[in-house]
């Protein structure tokens, strides 16, 4: 009964979405307020229906209702509750449900909080959102219905891919989707603005928080995915340039460009048509990511639900949504009035450089990801584009981006002088060069790229802190003055400092881990001992343990230095009973400066076990830095100025702080 209710609610949601997609547009064109307000009601109703539908599906998973086909295919009664719930979106049908859930909830948020938006802009944005919703709802109902019943119901389910049964991965898709779908809001606003023919500071103030929120969630989602592959796949790497990873990186890069260019629209009323284009592209790349993962046109470790029929549906949808948007852009964007003028050397100029570089990086990733597909189709040649391509293209281009990130914040709006900014940065630059030389002496000379990257990481951290110190007159004025300045410093500015510093930490972590890591692969029998990265590694024990839905072999490896115990590692190999699949459970001990990492391979007491040990210096900085980067975004999001109508109020509130 409950699955049927969910199914019914989903069909109703499609009907409501069709209403939301059409009538408010008519209302906005005719200036009919009643039809325009209908958009709000429809958005709230649609969200309520989809929440109901999603809850029904979740209920089927939690109670292990094996008369529902997707539950049978992806769940099992012996699975822990967390994975029963995450199993809802750990498969194709459910992940599409999660997508429409987030889409409709965001639509409802625009409807609820968009009170001070012009009626017509809000009505149009909600209608565009509803069009996207219609596409996805139709996709679910016609090709991937999660509520289909099975008769007779089997006694138990097939279980979930054991690799996905992990807390990190339980939250990876929701965060990623919050990011992808968040860009649908900026997309809707961009289309609405193109229809209205008006892009102004008020518009940018609406677009920026949504972009920021989407970008922060995407950052966290990517981070969690990368962390998952680091500790679960047991390869010791953190980024593999896999097509699916790239698919999430592309909207992230364009989103980063967008949140910077929206500042220029807001403050200087310039870069309008460019910002609109970025809004369209950020969401287009999110859709492209979905297409690449679902259609099976590329090989990837992640690809699930490879089905050409579904691929065709998504492709058609992609062409209609993106093609329509870009067509509208080609038609209307030339009419957007150009705004404020500025000199090439200025904050605006630096932000343009940042935008161009971020877009170039995105184009590089796009080319590297799709090139094998193009070549295969054109002349049947099979190539694989891997890390060597990205290391020689992506890495050097990002150096230019880092330089812009160091210098840009020191430039004023409209027109600025480059030289004083560089003089301010000279000490930071000197330290960075020293860091670079130190790094270069520690690695062989072929890895100059790594040494340069290390130097940039140092420079980035110092320059960001220096800029913050400048603003607060830290150490150059009495402490009271600094405190007063700190209190009035816009949150957006604090957020920038945090995020830019964080990028520096990510760079240092990535460089150190990939350059100075030590690896040992060896067969150990119980009692065997081997030197590893300055320690003595000993396999002291291997025992059988029993988990809720798996049996495991657990090794105990002790690392000692000069006879003193340093750390005990307990990697496992788990055999999942239902799927008869093995996973490796890595054991990682971290002190936030280095990770010691162990995985247990195949073996037995007679021949010994294959054990891999890694010493990854600064590895935790990659994920901590990335999380800090997202945190900076959230701090910036809390800036009062991002709320329309807030500037006046904020000035009054700021007074008592004097």
């Amino acid at each position: 009964m409950i699955p049927e209710l969910g199914h019914y609610a989903l069909i109703l949601a499609l009907a409501v979405a069709l209403v939301q997609a059409s009538l408010p547009l008519v209302g906005a064109a005719r200036g009919d307020v009643r039809l325009m307000t209908l958009g709000r009601t429809a958005a709230l109703t649609q969200a309520a229906l989809i929440v109901l539908s999603f809850a029904a599906l979740t209920e089927a998973y939690v109670t292990s209702d094996f008369s529902v086909a997707t539950v049978v295919a992806n769940s099992h009664s012996a699975k822990p509750l967390l994975y029963k719930i995450s199993g809802v979106w750990g498969n194709h049908e459910g992940s599409m449900m999660l997508w429409v859930l987030i889409l409709s909830v965001f639509g409802a948020a625009v409807a609820l909080f968009g009170e001070n938006l012009p009626d017509s802009l809000r009505a149009r944005a909600l209608a565009v959102q509803a069009w996207v919703g219609v596409g996805f709802l139709a996709f679910i109902l016609f090709t991937s219905n999660p509520f289909l019943r099975l008769s007779p119901a089997p006694p138990d389910g097939n279980g979930m891919n054991p690799l996905l049964q992990d807390p990190g991965l339980a939250f990876h898709p929701p965060l990623l989707y919050l990011g992808y779908v968040g860009f649908s809001v900026t997309f809707a606003f961009a289309i609405a603005a193109l229809i209205e023919g008006r892009v102004d500071a008020a518009w940018a103030r609406w677009v920026r928080p949504w972009t920021l929120a989407a970008w922060c969630f995407l950052t966290l989602g990517i981070t969690l995915g990368s962390w998952w592959s680091y500790y679960i796949l047991g390869w010791g790497g953190f980024w593999f340039w896999d097509p699916v990873e790239n698919a999430s990186l592309m909207p992230w890069l364009v989103g980063a460009a967008l949140l910077h260019s929206a500042i220029v629209v807001e403050k200087r009323d310039a870069l309008k048509s460019w910002t609109v284009l970025l809004s369209i592209l950020a969401f287009s790349l999110s859709l492209l990511g979905t297409f690449l993962v679902r259609s099976g046109v590329l090989t990837s470790v992640h690809a699930f639900a490879q089905d050409p029929a579904r691929g065709m549906f998504i492709l058609a949808f992609l062409v209609i949504v993106i093609g329509g948007a870009l067509g509208l852009y080609a038609w209307r964007a030339p009419t957007l009035q150009p705004g404020g003028r500025f000199q090439p050397v200025s904050r605006e100029g630096a932000l343009i450089v940042n935008n161009l570089l971020l877009c170039t990086l995105c184009a590089t990733v796009l080319l590297g990801t799709l090139y094998p597909l193009f070549l295969d189709l054109v002349n049947g040649a099979k190539v694989s584009v891997g890390p060597p391509f990205f290391n020689t293209t992506f890495v050097p281009i990002s150096f230019a981006l880092f330089a812009a990130m160091c210098v840009g914040p020191f430039l004023g709006w409209k027109r600025a002088e480059l030289w004083p900014a560089l003089v301010r940065l000279r000490a930071a630059f000197a330290v960075a060069v020293i860091g670079m030389i130190l790094a270069a002496t520690m690695i062989d000379r072929h890895a100059t790229l790594a040494a340069i990257a290390f130097g940039f990481g140092v420079w980035l951290i110092l320059a960001s802190i220096l800029e913050f110190a400048d603003r607060t007159k830290l150490g150059r004025a009495p402490w009271a003055e600094t405190r007063r300045r700190l209190a009035t410093l816009p949150r957006a500015s604090i957020g920038m400092t945090i995020s830019h510093t964080a990028v520096g930490f990510v760079v240092l972590g990535a460089v150190a881990t990939s350059t100075w890591n030590v690896e040992l692969i060896r067969t150990f029998r119980i009692g065997d001992s081997a030197p590893f990265a300055g320690w003595q590694a000993t396999l002291t024990n291997v025992e059988q343990v029993r988990g809720p839905n798996y049996d495991a072999e657990r090794a105990t490896i002790t690392l000692t230095r000069d006879g003193n115990p340093y750390v005990v590692l307990t990697p496992e190999r788990r055999m999942f009973r239902v799927q008869q699949r093995e996973t490796t459970e890595t054991s990682i001990r971290t002190n936030f400066l280095r990770d010691v990492y162990a995985t247990l391979g195949e073996g037995d007491a007679l021949k010994g076990w294959t054990i891999r040990l890694y010493d990854n210096p600064l590895a935790p900085w990659i994920w901590l830095g990335a999380a800090l980067c997202a945190l900076g975004g959230f701090v910036s999001l809390s800036d009062r100025r991002l709320r329309i109508g807030a500037p006046k109020r904020s000035r009054i509130v700021a007074q008592p702080a004097e």
Binding site: L298, L315, L326, G327, Y329, T335, L377
Partner: protein, 185 residues
Amino acid sequence: MTVVPVRSNHLLYLLPLMTLAILAGFFGWSLVSGRDPASIGSALVGKPAPSLKAPSLRPDEAALSDALLHTGKPALVNFFASWCTPCLAEHPLLERLAKKEGITIIGIAWKNKPEEARGWLKRQGDPFATAGYDLDGSMAVNWGLSGVPETFLIDAHGIVRLHIRAPILEKDVESRILPLLRAGS
């Protein structure tokens, strides 16, 4: 809307749309072409078989040579190793092809010590009419081998007709190997 004078950079605004059209064209093509992105294909199919030169696995037999591929009868060349589990999986099928269908199969032990390969064949059964070994993998380079097991079908004229880069399955035998052999003989 206001009338805007047509400027030369007007086409620039169409650029994103054109890019999308090209991308979508490729995607559509890839979806209908039915290609398998996981297959890496083979450059050898339709070409004469590469040179076959390997010491024999059997102590009393002569070394393998190209003459074995020009007997006027089609043959299968199977690269295997005793350390390779997928090879074990396809082994019963090879035995069936050799014993029931009477097909000549030439086995090459790849990066495998001859005594270990011999021991393995003794335990698992030996479907090979002739067997050699390629200890350092130098011969396999010419065959474009990416691992084991891989199987090549050479026709009566010494031309490669099929290259399977995976353990052969029942359906490969029925739908690819046997039809080609029947057509060739």
